[in-house]
C-alpha cells in the first residue's frame, strides 16, 4: 500500500573524502555554498528558530526561504524550505530538509539529505529532485578537490 507520506520524501546520499567538520562548513559557509549550490549564498546563524535564507550570488534575489528547526554541528541540520525562484513553488507549503553527517572509515564522511513533507508541494518536489544531485556532487567535488564542477 502506498501512502502520500512515502511519496513525499526524497533521500540522497553521498560519500565525501573529508571530515564531518569540513562537510558542515561546506553546508553552512556562504563562501562554499556559492561554489556548488547553484551559486546561492546561504545566509543563517544556524541557531534553531533563525532564518535559513538562500540568496542569488549577488544577493539581489532571494531563492530560498526557511527556518532552522534543529542544529547539531557537525552532525545534523534540519530546516524548512520554500523555493522562491518560481511563483508556483513559492505558493506551495514549506517542506523540510535534513542534512545528516556521519563519519565513516578511511577518512570518509557520509552525507544524507532527506527532503520530506513534500506532499503539499508537488512542483517543488519535481524541481528539487534533479537539483539535489547537482548540489551533492558539486559539494563532494569542492571538498575533495577544491574545484566544483560547473552545474
Amino acid at each position: 500500500m502506498t501512502t502520500m507520506t512515502e511519496q513525499s520524501t526524497q533521500v540522497y546520499s553521498i560519500f565525501i573524502r573529508a571530515t564531518p567538520e569540513q562537510v558542515w562548513e561546506g553546508i553552512t559557509k556562504p563562501e562554499f555554498t556559492t561554489r556548488y549550490f547553484f551559486g546561492s549564498v546561504i545566509d543563517s546563524t544556524f541557531q534553531p528558530g533563525s532564518p535559513y535564507i538562500g540568496w542569488s550570488s549577488d544577493r539581489s534575489q532571494q531563492f530560498v526561504d526557511g527556518e532552522v528547526l534543529e542544529s547539531d554541528p557537525p552532525r545534523r541540520l534540519r530546516h524548512t524550505w520554500r523555493a522562491l525562484y518560481d511563483e508556483d513553488m513559492a505558493n506551495e507549503a514549506p517542506s523540510h530538509v535534513t542534512w545528516e553527517i556521519e563519519p565513516q572509515d578511511g577518512g570518509y564522511t557520509k552525507l544524507t539529505v532527506v527532503h520530506d513533507r513534500l506532499e503539499a508541494s508537488p512542483k517543488t518536489a519535481v524541481s528539487v529532485a534533479g537539483g539535489w544531485m547537482y548540489v551533492l556532487s558539486g559539494l563532494k567535488s569542492l571538498l575533495e578537490t577544491a574545484k566544483p564542477l560547473e552545474g
Binding site: Q7, T9, Q10
Partner: protein, 108 residues
Amino acid sequence: MTDDDRVFKALSDPTRRFLLDRLFERDGRTLTELESELEMTRFGVMKHLRVLEDAGLVVTRRSGREKLHFLNPVPIRLIHDRWIDKYRERQVSALAELKHELEGEEAG
C-alpha cells in the same frame, strides 16, 4: 572494489535496473511492494536490493515498522561527471580547434 566498480556491477543486471526504474516511478517502497512486481523469491529480491544498497544506488529508511527503499541517483551523477562530461569536453574542444583552424585558414 572501487565505488565505480560497485555502481557498474549493480547496473549490469536487468533485474536491478528494473528495481531502480520502479523506484524512479515511485520512491520509498517496501520490499513487499517491490517483490510483487517481480517473478522472483523474496530472498532473490533482497539480494538484488542489497547489491544496489552497497553501490549506494538505493538508500533505506525506517518509517515506523516499515523499511522503505529510496532511489539515490547521486552515484549515477558522479559516473556521469567522471565518464561523460570528460569525453564530451574533449569532443567540444576538438570542434573548437577545428573551427579555429578553418576560420584561421579563411582569414589567411
